[in-house]
């Protein structure tokens, strides 16, 4: 882009972009509102969040089952590893949901989502 500082309305634009982005993050459930729990979520947004939680549970369990089934097929230990991995997958699903609900996003380790990596320089303009 051209020299950012010279645009007459660039500050205004940045502010609006940031506001829109915050709204985006709130909608996608990444940045939870203040702790009082009274989130002005509409039905649709709540539904979207609930769907995400469901997806996390189901996919992790499905991956667990697939791994168990694959290992059984390979090692010839028919039902046992699958039974074990159903539970492990379920555990992974619950872990994912815990991370999602407590603001850390799915499977991004035990750090809060959106927290900055060690060296973050906030206000420098993004350039190549």
């Amino acid at each position: 882009m051209t020299e950012g500082g010279e645009k007459p309305s660039s500050d205004d634009f940045d502010a609006r972009l940031r506001a829109a982005k915050t709204a985006h993050e709130e909608r996608s459930g990444r940045r939870r509102k203040s702790a009082d729990g009274s989130e002005p979520k509409t039905g649709m947004e709540g539904l979207g969040f609930a769907l995400r939680v469901g997806t996390e549970l189901v996919t992790a369990t499905a991956v667990g089952v697939a791994i168990g089934f694959g290992l059984d097929y390979w090692l010839g230990t028919k039902p046992w590893l699958m039974i074990l991995f159903v539970f492990l997958g379920g555990g992974a699903g619950v872990t994912n949901v815990y991370r999602l609900v407590s603001g850390m996003d799915s499977g991004v380790g035990w750090r809060r989502a959106g927290t900055k990596p060690p060296k973050g320089d906030d206000d420098t303009e993004y350039k190549e």
Binding site: L17, K21, L51, T55, I67, F85, L88, G91, A92, V108
Partner: protein
């Protein structure tokens, strides 16, 4: 009248040389998406005005949106991945939006497409992590602060959780797009059904609902493209900065 699921039918347009390989409507709309995106960015930036016009502001807004997304979620090291993240975002976004045009085809409503994208992201991010940290990358699966006797339980859970990433990434995008488009079609059939019985009066209510739903679908199109890319950024951040 066409059923609500017929819009997802894949139909070959040009048959390929081998049986089972063809240029389908899905491929056609991917091609259209790529062309539209190219026109959008290349033509938008062709004037390079100091004070951008409408078109130039739009492409700059997308550019800066992705730029700041990477800066906030990945940090400085993420800059070299800008082309990948940008491409992913605009491809999914324009695919979603073009799919809302009447008579078009939404390729993001097919799980094979979203899964291919997600698996690519997953493999890429994993390879980046291994290239940067070597075997140390696998310490990622060892949870901090857990007692050692829990490791046999925690490490498989962490690995399954890691492997479920591409699947949940794919299912989220595909399910949202497919559910939205099915819902639109179902409400559209109500317009005919109710309208025919009540001499057109009864059709007003579902049409109102459809207007609202179409707006909501545009929101979902943006939101899902955003979610897909922001999660890619978070995964990339994980791979680059192990914790």
């Amino acid at each position: 009248m066409a059923g609500p699921l017929e819009q997802f039918q894949i139909t070959p347009i040009v048959d390929g040389p081998v049986d089972g390989i063809a240029f389908t409507n899905s491929a056609l709309w991917m091609t259209i998406t790529v062309i539209v995106v190219t026109i959008f960015t290349v033509m938008g930036m062709s004037k390079r005005e100091m004070v951008p016009g409408r078109w130039q502001s739009m492409s700059e807004a997308v550019y800066e949106f992705i730029g700041s997304m990477i800066r906030e979620n990945v940090g400085d090291e993420g800059r070299k991945f800008f082309p990948l993240i940008f491409t992913l975002f605009v491809f999914i976004l324009f695919g979603n939006l073009l799919g809302l045009l009447p008579g078009s085809f939404t390729f993001t409503s097919h799980i094979i497409v979203t899964l291919a994208l997600a698996v690519f992201v997953f493999l890429f991010v994993t390879l980046v992590g291994i290239a940067k940290h070597g075997l140390h990358f696998f310490s990622f699966f060892v949870p901090h602060g857990a007692p050692t006797w829990l490791y046999p339980l925690m490490i498989p859970i962490e690995i399954i959780s890691y492997l479920s990433r591409p699947l949940s990434l794919a299912i989220r995008l595909f399910a949202n797009m497919m559910a939205g488009h099915t819902m639109l079609k179902v409400f559209a059939s109500f317009v005919f059904g109710l309208g025919a019985v009540t001499a057109g009066v009864g059709g007003i209510l579902p049409i109102t609902m459809m207007v609202a739903l179409t707006g909501f679908e545009i929101l979902v199109a943006f939101l899902q493209a955003y979610v897909f890319t922001v999660l890619t950024c978070l995964y990339l951040n994980d791979a680059l900065h192990l914790h």
